[in-house]
């Protein structure tokens, strides 16, 4: 018989042995693949089995937002500066990409909250919830991107070779969304206040990101836009999609590297806080 697995539980904090903790984290990540896939398939098939409009729900919201902004700018209620792309295309690509980001930001907290009873009763690799959330975002995101490319072709914008880089942009949107969402999850599961704040904080973040407004050319607003990590992400991803040359690729790379480490850090926080959270959600 091979050496049996020994499980030890002590009150000692895992962060005291970071090396051991990291090994355990990646081991659990590998172990969670099967379960994550199952959970994602479960949620997606259940979601679409109980709707009439089905897949359409993946893009109804961004389409509605786009129409609102086309109306606002077209009617002159709000004057939006000039964009290199036709404005409807600019808004539509922006809101679609933003909605993918928002989906990934909401996923960790939503998955953790939806799995409360499972978390309180079964010891499974908790990473499965995060990964399942990412799978769901990828599925819905895939539908959105398909629609987006279709729409671009219809209006006569043909993507160039840079479309090959577009998935990279998409992944960074999901990376940043997941990292921020996961960061808010531990406290968010304890206090519902967090969920409420996310709603309007993200609304504000969207207005200081070139999603529906073009990049400002001057003043403190421009600095604000530049400091916002979402600016290079949205701009670069949109440029890759529509065949323009990205301007902000340096900050795009820097922010991605930063968020990669940030994700690792918040993943550790998530793991460490899980028993404390479960103690307070026990049913």
């Amino acid at each position: 018989m091979s050496t049996p697995k020994i499980t030890i539980y002590t009150p000692e904090s895992q962060v005291r042995h970071p090396g051991k903790m990291l090994r355990a984290m990646f081991k659990d990540l590998a172990l969670s693949q099967d379960l994550a896939w199952r959970l994602a398939v479960r949620d997606i098939s259940a979601q679409y089995r109980q709707t009439f409009l089905g897949l359409a729900w993946a893009f109804i919201m961004p389409v509605a937002t786009t129409l609102t902004w086309i109306f606002l700018s077209g009617s002159g209620i709000i004057s939006v500066g000039a964009t290199a792309l036709p404005y409807p295309v600019y808004v539509f690509t922006g809101t679609m990409l933003w909605s993918i980001f928002m989906d990934s930001l909401n996923a960790p907290l939503a998955m953790t909250n939806a799995s409360r009873s499972m978390l309180a009763k079964v010891n499974f690799p908790r990473e499965a919830l995060i990964v399942a959330g990412i799978y769901k975002v990828l599925f819905n995101g895939g539908i959105k991107v398909g629609l987006l490319i279709l729409a671009l072709l219809v209006v006569g914008i043909y993507p160039s070779w840079s479309l090959l880089l577009f998935p990279l942009g998409l992944l960074s949107l999901i990376l940043v969304g997941t990292a921020i969402g996961l960061f808010l999850t531990p406290v968010g599961t304890l206090y519902t206040d967090v969920g409420n704040v996310i709603g309007f904080a993200m609304q504000f973040l969207m207005y200081i990101t070139p999603v529906v407004f073009p990049m400002p050319k001057e003043g403190w607003v421009e600095i604000l836009f530049r400091l916002n990590p979402m600016t290079p992400l949205i701009l670069t991803t949109r440029d890759w999609l529509t065949g323009y040359t990205p301007e902000y690729w340096i900050s795009f790379i820097l922010f991605n590297v930063f968020f990669l480490f940030f994700l690792l850090a918040v993943w550790m926080i998530y793991r460490v806080s899980m028993p404390i959270i479960i103690e307070r959600m026990s049913s």
Binding site: I6, W37, R42, S45, K121, V122, N123, V187, I276, I278
Partner: protein, 423 residues
């Protein structure tokens, strides 16, 4: 003490010990607001690596209490530990810590081999999806790979006795079918350490027996920890017993029968409600056996197969004809299972009870109390004819308690000991 905390099993050469729990404590908070705030603080402390048992975690903060305190035990392969105690004793908390869901505040737990937990059946089931899809989900939650489930799928469907329902949404299942499906998946686990929390309390008897058989076959290769309120189940399965009270272990031994006796004696004698219209009262109930008499606020102890005497003092304010006195016996789950009355005996005639009034003292004597080990209560009811009309005069629910001690522990309260003949 020759136990060195922090060593692994093999260092001590105790190859068959699968679970070792040492000085485990856990604190909980009574107030939700404070508990959430402590939660945020604890997360912070954990991240700074501050948390260790020398300092703050061994003190209680405001509104905190010890949900578990200084729990110690060992379990070997082939042993089944029954974890019993009243609600809130800390059994489920201990099970959650063993399962790695909660972190202990002090102490250490070491387990060897695969740990499986049956705390809830059918975890992760989605009611909209079919039984087959849910088998895969539940199986993954329990740690099976897709290939493993593929291989075991037929066995699971077979075990669950679901038949054609397997491709129907689980929301159309009866609760029994859902439980069967959940257990069928869980039964495929082959753990070294199995944690069970009262999941077998449901389902029809045929299926329950099937579950027991499965657990028996697991027991040979595993160490089982079973949390249950069902004492016959504990008596049948367990090799050791731990009785918990207010988060502490108050009994831990291989002697199951004494542990169960202690458990039963912990039940407070809650005297129930008395209903009467004022024409008759039950003044006193006294239980005795072999010269011992019951005392107030204590559960009377009687040995199995000894005599049991119930003395009733009744005050009748009006003359009653043909009094009909009943003593009902209830078990711990408040199920009535036996009854004694003055009808169908020559009692009324011999004692001139046809018409009575004033103080009436009666003694019912049962020569052999053939009840299974456990706590029982009696309810006394009196009816009779007043002015030619039959009426209920009083009913005293749970008028007195008694506990039967012994080693006889069956599934039902009444135990016959017939003489057998073989042909």
């Amino acid at each position: 003490m020759n136990k060195t905390p922090g060593t692994t099993f093999d260092e001590r050469g105790e190859a068959d010990v699968l679970v070792r729990v040492e000085n485990v404590s856990k604190k909980f908070c009574r107030s939700l607001k404070k508990s959430l705030w402590y939660g945020v603080k604890d997360i912070g402390a954990e991240l700074l690596g501050k948390n260790d048992h020398q300092n703050e975690s061994s003190f209680l903060r405001a509104d905190e209490f010890w949900a578990l305190q200084d729990i110690n035990f060992e379990l070997k392969r082939g042993e089944c530990l029954g974890l019993i105690g009243q609600n809130g004793a800390g059994k489920s908390t201990l099970l959650k810590i063993l399962n790695g869901l909660l972190k202990p505040d002090t102490g250490r737990i070491a387990m060897r081999g695969r740990v499986g937990a049956l705390i809830e059946l059918g975890t992760g089931f989605n009611p909209i999806l079919s039984g087959r899809e849910n088998i895969y989900i539940n199986g993954s939650v329990l740690g099976f790979s897709k290939q493993e489930i593929d291989r075991k799928l037929d066995a699971i469907i077979d075990f669950a006795e679901i038949g054609d329902f397997i491709d129907m949404p689980v929301k159309n299942y009866s609760s029994g079918m859902r439980v069967r499906l959940g257990f069928a998946v869980a039964a495929q686990m082959e753990p070294d350490v199995l944690l069970i929390d009262e999941v077998l309390a449901v389902g029809d008897i045929g299926f329950v027996l099937k579950c027991f058989n499965r657990m028996d076959s697991l027991l040979g290769n595993a160490a089982i920890i079973l949390v249950s309120h069902n004492m016959p189940q504990v008596a049948r399965m367990c090799t050791n017993l731990t009785l918990m009270e207010h988060g502490r272990t108050i009994y831990n031994s291989y002697d199951i029968a004494s542990g169960l006796n202690l458990y039963y004696s912990k039940f407070k004698a809650e005297i129930g409600n008395f209903t009467s219209d004022g024409r008759a009262f039950l003044q006193e109930v006294e239980i005795s056996s072999n010269g011992k008499t019951s005392q107030k606020d204590k559960i009377f102890q009687v040995e199995y197969q000894n005599e049991l005497l119930i003395r009733l003092t009744i005050q009748l304010n009006e003359p009653v004809r043909d009094p009909d006195l009943r003593i009902y016996f209830y078990d711990k789950e408040q199920r009535v299972f036996a009854e004694a009355s003055n009808l169908h005996t020559d009692f009324n005639a011999a004692l001139h009870l046809q018409q009575v009034s004033g103080l009436l003292i009666l003694l019912a004597k049962m020569p052999k109390i053939n009840f299974s080990q456990g706590t029982y209560s009696i309810t006394v009811a009196l009816s009779g004819k007043i002015n030619g009309q039959k009426q209920v005069l009083f009913r005293y629910q749970s008028a007195a308690y008694f506990q039967v001690n012994g080693t006889r522990h069956g599934w039902s309260p009444v135990q016959f000991e017939p003489t057998w003949q073989r042909f």
